[in-house]
C-alpha cells in the first residue's frame, strides 16, 4: 500500500459564532490520510463530524489550523450527503452527469461515462427517471454515482445511509465496499454507526462529544474483500467493543 499521505490536517479548529454565543465544534484535530485509504470518522451527534467533512470540502473556513492536500493539484472532490440531494428537474442520467458538465467535458464522453456509472450502481433502466420516482436507496445510489463520475481524488461521505431503512442500509454497505474495491479512492466517511465504520473502513477515528477531538485512532485489520458475515466474527466483535468503549 502506498503510504504517502494524501491529506494532512493539522491543528484544525472550527468555532461557530452566533450573535452572542460561541460554539466550538472542532478542537485541534490532526491526522493524516494515506492515498487510497478508507477512513471513517465515528462519533456521537454533536461531535462535529459533519463540520470536519465540510471543512475538508471547502464549504466552511476553519477558524485555525491547516488542511493540506497532496494530490499535486487542487483536489477534485466527490461528495455524498445525508440526503440524496438530487436536482429534481434532472433525470437520473443528467444528475449523475452534473460534475462532468461543470468541468465542460465533451457531451458524448459524459454520456458514456454516466452510463458506466449507472451500471456500477445498478440503476439500469432508470436513466430517464426523475428523482421523485426513486426510492430512498435508489436516490442515494444516484448520489454515489454522481460523486464518482468525475474521478475525484477524494470521496467525502456524510452519513450517506443514515436516512435509509436498516435492510437497505446494510445492502448499500456491501455495494459501497465493492465500489471502493473497484475504484480505490481515498475516502472519508462520517457516521455514528460502529458496524458501518468497521465494515467499510481501513481505519476508524473516534471523535469526542463537542468540542470534537480525536480520541482513538484504530486500524481495522479485517481482511478484504469483506463479506456480509464478517460482522459476526469474533475479531469484528472485539474491534466493535473497543470503539464502543471510546464513544462516550
Amino acid at each position: 500500500m502506498n503510504s504517502n499521505p494524501a491529506l494532512v490536517v493539522k491543528d484544525l479548529s472550527v468555532v461557530f459564532e452566533d450573535d452572542n454565543a460561541e460554539l466550538q465544534a472542532l478542537e485541534n484535530i490532526s491526522f493524516a490520510l494515506r492515498a487510497r485509504e478508507f477512513v471513517c470518522f465515528l462519533g456521537p451527534s454533536g461531535s462535529g463530524k459533519t463540520t470536519l467533512l465540510r471543512a475538508i470540502a471547502g464549504l466552511i473556513q476553519p477558524t485555525a489550523g491547516e488542511i493540506d492536500f497532496r494530490f499535486g493539484r487542487p483536489p477534485k472532490i466527490g461528495m455524498v450527503f445525508q440526503q440524496p440531494n438530487l436536482m429534481v428537474w434532472r433525470s437520473v442520467l443528467d444528475n449523475i452527469k452534473l460534475p462532468l458538465e461543470l468541468e465542460d467535458v465533451d457531451k458524448n464522453i459524459a454520456e458514456e461515462k454516466s452510463k458506466e456509472l449507472i451500471d456500477l450502481v445498478g440503476l439500469n433502466g432508470f436513466e430517464r427517471s426523475y428523482p421523485r420516482d426513486l426510492s430512498g436507496g435508489m436516490a442515494q445510489r444516484v448520489g454515489i454515482a454522481r460523486a464518482l463520475i468525475h474521478d475525484p481524488d477524494l470521496l467525502l461521505l456524510d452519513e450517506p445511509f443514515a436516512a435509509l431503512d436498516a435492510l437497505t442500509r446494510e445492502r448499500m454497505w456491501g455495494e459501497l465496499s465493492n465500489i471502493w474495491q473497484a475504484k480505490r479512492k481515498t475516502v472519508v466517511l462520517v457516521t455514528h454507526s460502529i458496524n458501518e465504520a468497521l465494515f467499510l473502513a481501513d481505519r476508524v477515528l473516534v471523535l469526542t462529544q463537542r468540542p470534537g477531538r480525536i480520541k482513538l485512532d484504530l486500524e481495522v485489520s479485517l481482511p478484504r474483500p469483506r463479506a456480509d458475515d464478517i460482522r459476526y466474527t469474533s475479531q469484528f466483535g472485539e474491534l466493535a467493543k473497543k470503539l464502543r468503549a471510546a464513544i462516550e
Partner: protein, 251 residues
Amino acid sequence: MMKTFFTRYLGIISIVFAIPIWQLIVRLSGLPKFILPSPLDVYLRFVTAVTDGSLLIHTGHTLLEILLGLFFGACFATILGYFLAKSRALEKILAPYLVASQAIPIVAVAPLLILWFGSGLAPKVLICALIVFFPVLVNTIVGVRAVPPALYDLMKALKATRWQILFKLELPASLPVLLGGLRIGATLSVIGAIVGELVNAKQGLGFLLKVGDFQYDTAMVFVAILMLITLALSLYGIVTLLEKKFLKWMK
C-alpha cells in the same frame, strides 16, 4: 369516456350556450343597439373591422406595447429580484419603495407618465412594465430563496463557478415559481396597455374602446373587449406551453 369528453369541452360548451342566451336577452329586453348589441351585431362589426384592416392595426399596436412592456418589466424584475433574494440589506433598503409602488393604483399614475413621456409608445410600455414588475419580482425572490441550501453545497464542493451556479442550479430550481410570476404578469400586462391607451392614444384597442364609446358604436366596444380577452388568453396559453415544455419533471 363520455365523462372525460364532457369535462374536456365544458368550457367550449358553456360559451356555445351563452351566445343564444345573450341573443335572447337582447330580443326580450328590447334594449337599443347602442346600449346592448346582440351577438350578431358584434359579429358583423367584427367582420367590417377586420375587412377595413383597422382591427388588425389597433390589435397589433396594443400587442406591441404588451410584449415590450412584458419583456422589459419581466427582465428588470427578474434581475432585481435575484439581487434582492441574495441580499437582505438591499431588500431592506428597497422594500418600502417597492411596497409603496404597489399601493398606488396604476390608473392614478398613468396620466402622470403620459404627461412626462408624451403620448407615444414609450409611456404605454412603461405602464405595462410597471404593472408586470411586481408579481414577477416577488416570485423571483421567493423562487431564488427556495433553492435548497444543500444543492449550493454540492455545487461548491464541485467548484462550480458563479455562472454555473446561476444557470445550472438557481435558474432551473426557481423556474416553476418564475413562470408562475410570468403567468400573472402576462395577464396583467394587457391591463397595463389598456390603461395607458385609455388615458391618451391615437392607436390601439384602448383607443378603439374610447372611440366606440364616444360614437355610441357599442358593438365596436364589444369587439375591442373580445380582442383583449383573446390577447390575454393567448399570452396565458403561451406561458402554460412554456411550463409544459420546461417543467416536464413536475408531471
